[in-house]
């Protein structure tokens, strides 16, 4: 079978293209080799330098005051999102690590109380709203206020009556003395009926 001239030319062109592509790849690999070797060498040098570096001594030589003086703190704070910062804090864990008793022991409660403006605190309290939450009926039922009022009323009434009676007894004595001066008594009078006041006890 005799190949046609067009077909031969196409095959030759394809073979040439393949050879060109393989050659370009080989050339690329050849060119990258020094870069890779240099990168590996740089990494090894960096590791060696870091291993020999005394970071503590380095930090000790840094003038932090001068550094902070140059630092624009306000601008730094502007860039901080406090909410995100707070969200990342484990408050519960933080609280559990706190020795509350030790903190309380160190607090000068008396001095703290002295610094409190009680009047200002009271002024801020909504007493009406507070009272609205109180169940007065239950409170009165528990305190038995009715019995207390009744007892108090009885006591006051009793003392008032006793006072009135005492004034009467006093006036009785006065009139008795006046009558004794008008009509002198020849013998002593009994204090009361014999069944109620025995004569020898008067």
């Amino acid at each position: 079978m005799i190949a046609r001239p067009g077909t031969v030319w196409a095959d030759a062109s394809r073979a040439g293209a393949d050879a060109t592509r393989h050659g370009a790849r080989a050339l690329g690999a050849l060119l990258r080799m020094p870069v890779v070797v240099a990168a590996e060498a740089a990494a090894r040098v960096t590791e060696a330098v870091v291993a020999r570096l005394d970071l503590d001594a380095l930090v000790a030589r840094v003038d932090l005051d001068a550094l902070l003086t140059k630092l624009d703190v306000a601008r730094l704070l502007d860039r901080i999102d406090p909410q995100r910062l707070v969200d990342r804090v484990d408050v519960q864990g933080l609280i559990e690590r706190v020795d509350v008793q030790a903190v309380v022991d160190r607090v000068d409660v008396q001095a703290l109380i002295d610094r409190i403006d009680v009047q200002a605190v009271v002024d801020r309290v909504d007493v009406n709203a507070l009272l609205a939450t109180v169940d007065l009926d239950a409170l009165l039922a528990r305190t038995e206020l009715g019995d207390l009022i009744a007892q108090s009323t009885r006591d006051v009434a009793g003392r008032t009556i006793d006072s009135v009676r005492s004034q009467g007894v006093g006036l009785d004595r006065v009139l008795d003395r006046l009558a004794g001066r008008l009509v002198p008594r020849t013998r002593p009078r009994p204090a009361g009926p014999p069944h109620l006041v025995p004569p020898d006890s008067a």
Partner: protein, 162 residues
């Protein structure tokens, strides 16, 4: 013994206490009588349509009022030995020897009570000058009036002198 601290319970009551008790009784009995008359008048007008008016000048009303006083005092004394005024002033009516007042003595005292008002109240002078501080009606009925509470002599200026 401290005279002011000694109890006077059971001792004969004096004139001032008895007069005060009488005034209270008069006020209570008159008030009750007025309320009673008004209630009866209202009921009579409601039922019979008649108009009942209290007329002080009418002798029959005086008899009714005297009967009411007899009922008021008689029932009080017979039941408890004390009227409202006596209870308020801490007084009790007892028999002469100090025993409880019976119904008979109470009734007799009610009947004799008006006699003490005769001769310008001369029957009451026995409370001031009598040996047992008894008024005329007490003598007739065989009764006496005593303090019925833990009476104490108050510290008044007119009682500092003996």
């Amino acid at each position: 013994m401290n005279r002011a601290a000694a109890s006077l319970a059971g001792h004969y009551a004096g004139a001032a206490s008895r007069a005060a008790a009488y005034v209270v009784d008069l006020a209570v009995s008159t008030t009750l009588f007025s309320v009673g008359v008004a209630s009866v008048a209202y009921l009579v007008r409601l039922v019979a349509g008649a108009d009942v008016r209290f007329d002080g000048s009418n002798p029959s009303w005086g008899v009714v009022f005297a009967a009411w006083l007899a009922l008021y005092y008689g029932y009080s004394w017979a039941a408890t030995g004390r009227s409202a005024g006596s209870a308020l002033l801490g007084l009790r009516i007892v028999a002469r020897d100090g025993s409880p007042l019976g119904k008979r003595r109470a009734l007799l005292r009610v009947c004799a009570f008006p006699l003490s008002f005769l001769l310008a109240g001369a029957g009451f002078l026995g409370i001031l000058f009598g040996r047992e501080r008894r008024a005329l009606h007490d003598v007739i009925a065989g009764t006496a009036v005593v303090y019925d509470w833990e009476a104490r002599l108050p510290r008044l200026w007119f009682n500092r002198r003996r």
